[in-house]
């Protein structure tokens, strides 16, 4: 196998994910509706309750809608990462994960391709969301639309890798409700997506520490700063390390020798 074979394989996996995305319009629609409901309804109701003071990267007072927009972008990616992990479990039962895994190319490479394909889809969803949000006065500096891209790719990788690891490790991943309760809700609410962490600190120091340690918080902050053309180095480092750890665990989980699929397949 030479680099050209690797490249064709990569293109093939991304192309298939793209085709599936095009065919699953319902999934796209719900990926759009979810953050828009938060933006249009939730944020409208809460803007008067929650005052957001001036904290970096913001330089002026902002509306609550503007504050939660980066959190909603990250939410799109969180859902996308978990959904593709769920579809991987579903796929494996249906067997299409097996089709992927009998490829003669190394398994880590196949998993990374699959991950990147999922990230590409999530980035498209985020930009579609931003296009609509623009008319709701979520208007970053134009360059922010560009600088947010690398942040979205990295956070998408982190969340996708987490989902992939969960799909290899957790047996009871049969329905989406389980993931909602045990992964998505805790990660989303215990983060800086909906409220700045200093507000959390006022309520509970323990909760603040949990939120701070939550990788999702750093994904949100990475996106938030990048959206305004800035880099939050701490969050960048945190997300990068978390990505490497989750990806390592996912590859371990799917390793035919040591992995968790062995035990799982026997169940």
């Amino acid at each position: 196998m030479t680099p050209i074979h690797y490249f064709r394989c990569f293109v093939g996996i991304v192309w298939r994910e793209g085709l599936r995305f095009v065919h699953q319009q319902e999934r796209f629609l719900s990926a759009m509706v979810r953050p828009l409901v938060w933006l249009f309804i939730f944020a409208a109701g809460f803007r008067s309750v929650l005052g957001v003071s001036i904290i970096p990267p913001y330089e002026t007072y902002i509306t609550y809608e503007v504050y939660i927009a980066p959190g909603l972008m990250a939410m799109i990616q969180l859902f996308n990462g978990m959904q593709s992990s769920l579809s991987m479990v579903y796929d494996r039962e249906m067997g299409s994960m097996r089709t992927l895994l009998v490829s003669p190319l190394p398994r880590w490479f196949l998993l990374v391709c699959k991950l990147l394909a999922g990230v590409a889809v999530s980035v498209i969803q985020v930009y579609a969301f931003l296009a609509i949000a623009w008319f709701w006065d979520i208007q970053p500096p134009l360059v922010g639309l560009l600088t947010v891209l690398p942040a979205l790719i990295l956070s998408g990788l982190m969340l996708g890798a987490l989902g992939m690891f969960l799909s290899s490790a957790i047996k009871q991943l049969e329905n989406f409700a389980g993931i909602m309760n045990f992964v998505i809700f805790p990660m989303f609410f215990a983060s800086s997506a909906l409220y700045p962490l200093w507000k959390m600190k006022e309520s509970s120091l323990l909760l603040y520490n949990i939120c701070w340690a939550n990788p999702f918080t750093h994904a949100v902050e990475l996106i938030r700063f990048a959206f305004y053309g800035q880099i939050n180095w701490l969050s960048l480092a945190y997300v990068a390390v978390a990505t490497v750890v989750f990806l390592g665990l996912a590859i371990y989980g799917y390793d035919p020798g040591r992995g968790l699929i062995t035990r799982k397949a026997g169940a």
């Binding site: 074979h5 067997g95 397949a265």
Partner: protein, 260 residues
């Protein structure tokens, strides 16, 4: 690229090597022994039926041979290449049809085959040529733009067989490929794979729990509770069991009536 593409050339197999050689293979899931000291040898051009009831260990054997997970004891070699050490070499030589359907229902026949070709590193142009050849052979060429959802169960299986052959493997592994099909489609698929075996000299391992899928003169391996009870030509197995038919041999060895 043409036919020099290494993803598609006839594979250089190790001389004298069996298509599949499994020896001393034992595999446990927790405290359950799924395979117990299994030995199987399949030669190029052999049509071998792996006969066993549900739960006999057939799917476990397929999972180990296709390296979904590793064997801990024993050895599995495909044309002389160890599945664990030379997995890439081994996996390019096999085409697999899994028990569960594995096609994307919303994609067309052609798109499904292109995806598989890409997984093997085959170029788009080469893949187009190959899929036209294979679909012609399985009489599905005029369905190539149809979505899988629009096809019947038997047609879907034939697409999966075509897909498994896209990268020109030397051995075809099929795990209960006729499950859920009506008698007519079952026979079609059997005839199709038997002709592939004859024409291309493919080695075929066909797992089933249905005894009437065995023909005289073919190879058979009887697997029960993870153990190989008998292996060899149909006549040989009957002789070993001291019976006149393979059905009686199965009943004698396994102690249960086979399914038909």
């Amino acid at each position: 690229m043409g036919h020099s593409d290494p993803a598609l050339t006839q594979h250089q197999n190790r001389e004298g090597a069996a298509a599949l050689e499994v020896s001393g293979l034992t595999h446990d899931f927790g405290s359950t022994r799924a395979l117990d000291d299994v030995a199987v040898a399949i030669h190029p051009g052999d049509f071998t039926v792996l006969l066993g009831q549900n739960g006999a260990g057939k799917t476990t054997l397929y999972s180990l041979v296709t390296r979904l997970y590793n064997n801990r004891t024993g050895a599995i070699e495909i044309f002389g290449y160890d599945v664990r050490r030379d997995s890439s070499q081994a996996l390019t030589r096999i085409g697999v049809v899994f028990q569960q359907p594995t096609l994307d229902l919303d994609l067309t026949v052609e798109q499904n085959l292109h995806y598989h070709a890409a997984l093997h590193g085959i170029s788009r142009g080469q893949a187009q040529e190959r899929l036209e050849e294979e679909l012609t052979r399985s009489s599905l060429i005029n369905r190539r733009h149809h979505k899988i959802r629009q096809l019947s169960g038997g047609q879907r299986r034939r697409v999966e067989i075509s897909r498994a052959l896209m990268h020109r493997p030397n051995m075809l592994l099929l795990d209960e490929p006729t499950v859920g099909l009506d008698i007519g489609s079952r026979q079609d698929i059997l005839d199709h794979v038997r002709s592939l075996c004859r024409e291309d000299g493919l080695a075929v391992l066909w797992a089933t729990h249905l005894i009437d899928e065995i023909d005289e003169g073919e190879q058979v391996v009887i697997l029960d509770e993870g153990k190989v009870l008998a292996a060899g030509g149909v006549e040989e197995v009957c002789k070993q069991a001291g019976t006149a038919t393979i059905r009686e041999a199965f009943t004698t060895l396994v102690g249960k009536e086979p399914e038909v």
